[in-house]
């Protein structure tokens, strides 16, 4: 019954991928920006988390709270002083600026932490919550999934029911009108990035608890995030969870049928196929033709 186990793990892993993608989806939805530095920002959060966990003798909750503060600051500064300045300069500059940020961040990590693989020590990884003869559920995978659902619901609530969320959505719908009504859209963008960083910090913690990582791991998570956003659709938080699950299942089925070496490849190929079938991505409204 290995296949049931793989399916189950794929679904639960989907929670992690949804978390990884959520911040990117938010940023894409609000400011139509494909943030190439997204994966690296998550890994930066992972490293900060790791350092903080050591500082606070393994208290991960405290570690992630402090990480969130750091990441909000980083996100705010990057958005305000770099990205906001190029957002209205056509399609290439924002893309290339975030690409530059991505490269700079991953090399700063390399410089500070070296190229070795790291992980955030935790006991959840070795515990199985459910253990039957057909399948088992590991605590960490379950945690991924639960956190994803909690965060997604919270985000959904914020966007629908708070003034902050409403002004974000107003900006996303129509920049000109929002500006006419006195909304400072650039400021909103900075706050959006902060919100995305809160989510990405949590994602960073989960990534570090689940897998080993290097300074260059950001690319991998950028691709996952991008793929999930494409599959799941913009501004649709439940869609993001679905996208994560599809990616998770694709990967573990690839591993099941072709061996673990093909896990990554299977995920990438599924993304490429979806990108091809939905050339504009599921998230963008159809333009001409």
């Amino acid at each position: 019954m290995q296949i049931i186990q793989s399916l189950l793990n794929g679904i639960l892993l989907g929670g992690l991928y949804a978390m990884v993608a959520l911040g990117m989806s938010l940023v894409f939805g609000i400011m139509k920006l494909t943030n190439i530095a997204h994966g690296d920002l998550i890994i930066v959060a992972t490293y900060i988390c790791m350092v903080m966990a050591v500082q606070f003798s393994g208290n991960l909750l405290l570690a992630v709270l402090i990480t969130i503060c750091f990441m909000m600051l980083i996100g705010f500064l990057l958005q305000t002083f770099l990205i906001n300045k190029v957002l209205d300069k056509g399609p290439e500059p924002p893309l290339l600026v975030t690409f530059g940020i991505s490269i700079t961040l991953s090399n700063i990590l390399l410089l500070v932490f070296g190229a070795d693989a790291r992980y955030i020590p935790n006991t959840l990884k070795t515990i199985n919550i459910v253990n039957t003869e057909h399948f088992s559920i590991s605590a960490i995978y379950l945690l991924n999934f639960i956190v994803a659902i909690v965060v997604i619901c919270t985000l959904h609530y914020i966007m629908k029911n708070t003034f902050f969320g409403r002004s974000i959505r107003a900006t996303a719908d129509d920049v000109t009108t929002a500006e006419l009504m006195g909304v400072n859209t650039k400021r909103i963008y900075s706050y959006t990035m902060c919100l995305a960083m809160v989510i990405s910090s949590i994602a960073g913690l989960l990534v570090g608890m689940n897998y080993t990582y290097y300074p260059s791991t950001g690319t991998e998570y950028l691709i996952y995030a991008f793929g999930v956003v494409v599959i799941g659709g913009m501004g649709n938080q439940m869609g993001i969870l679905l996208g994560g699950i599809i990616l998770g299942i694709a990967q573990l089925m690839g591993a099941y049928f072709f061996g673990t070496g093909y896990q990554l490849l299977a995920g990438y190929l599924v993304l490429l196929i979806i990108l091809t079938i939905r050339p504009q991505g599921i998230l963008s409204k159809a333009t001409r033709r």
Binding site: F99, G100, L110, L111, L265, T276
Partner: protein, 321 residues
Amino acid sequence: MIQLLASKPFKILNIKIIVLILIISIFLTLPLWSSEYIISVFVLIFLYMSLGQMWNLLAGYTGLVSLGQQIFIGLGGYSLAVITVLYQLPIALGIIVGGVISILFALIISQPIFKMRGDYFTIGTWIVAECLAVFFSVWTYVRGGLGFNIIAAYKLSTTDIYYMAVAMGLGSIALVYFLLRTKIGLALMAMRDNESAAETLGVELYKTKLKVFLIAAFVTGLTGGLLYLSIAYIQPRASFSITWTVAMVFIVIIGGIGTIEGPILGAFFFILIKQYLYNYPGISMIILGTVAILTILIAPKGIVGTLQERYGFEILSIRRR
């Protein structure tokens, strides 16, 4: 007065040609009077110049911002390795096969990848490159993650490689220059200004972009082969690494996107910084990343574009008169 007016452009043309001949002869005779180290630095400059020209042709002239050009570096390098190591065939064949395979692969992926627009194209190309990196790591035919020592390359002197690099670098400049002066160049300029207007005047957007994509794949593939001649060791993670495209992006952004002179200057700049900080590879990437970001913010047209705007000169003009 009339005489003066008539002779002025002629004189400028003359000076241009003289300077050009001078520069080319300096580069051609370089191995005769300079050190091994300088020669090897210029090998890199010329090869990266070619990479920059091709990325510029894509991003600057065709609007195809690809972050997957490392695909063709890897394919070029691996073709060289497989041909010379597994089959013991000549190096020249390895390089050419690299170019041909690159073109074929580009043709195959163009089907799905061209369905993606804008940002999707950008990340789509990158995903393809990552796929290849993973696939080559598990593909036993190319020895998986072990890679190859390209022994045949040891037989070549730096000078041999230098002349190939010069041919590649100058060839890529000439190629872009003449390409832009053909019909395709006219279409590219029109598309860059307004795609829908170009289309209603009979320009075939898809075909034109595809042609450019294939040309860039071919030249990047050849250059990849030459790069691996000088590196002499190939391994999937490094050969399909985004670092190659990072270099191309920096060269083009810093030099000046959408100009022929930009990548020439950019390549010098890039390699000099890289060599200067050779022992601190991390730092050089950080510096280059920061410089590139600042360039986009402060002088989005790069060094050459900004100078052109201010002084209105063009060394390699593609204007039709």
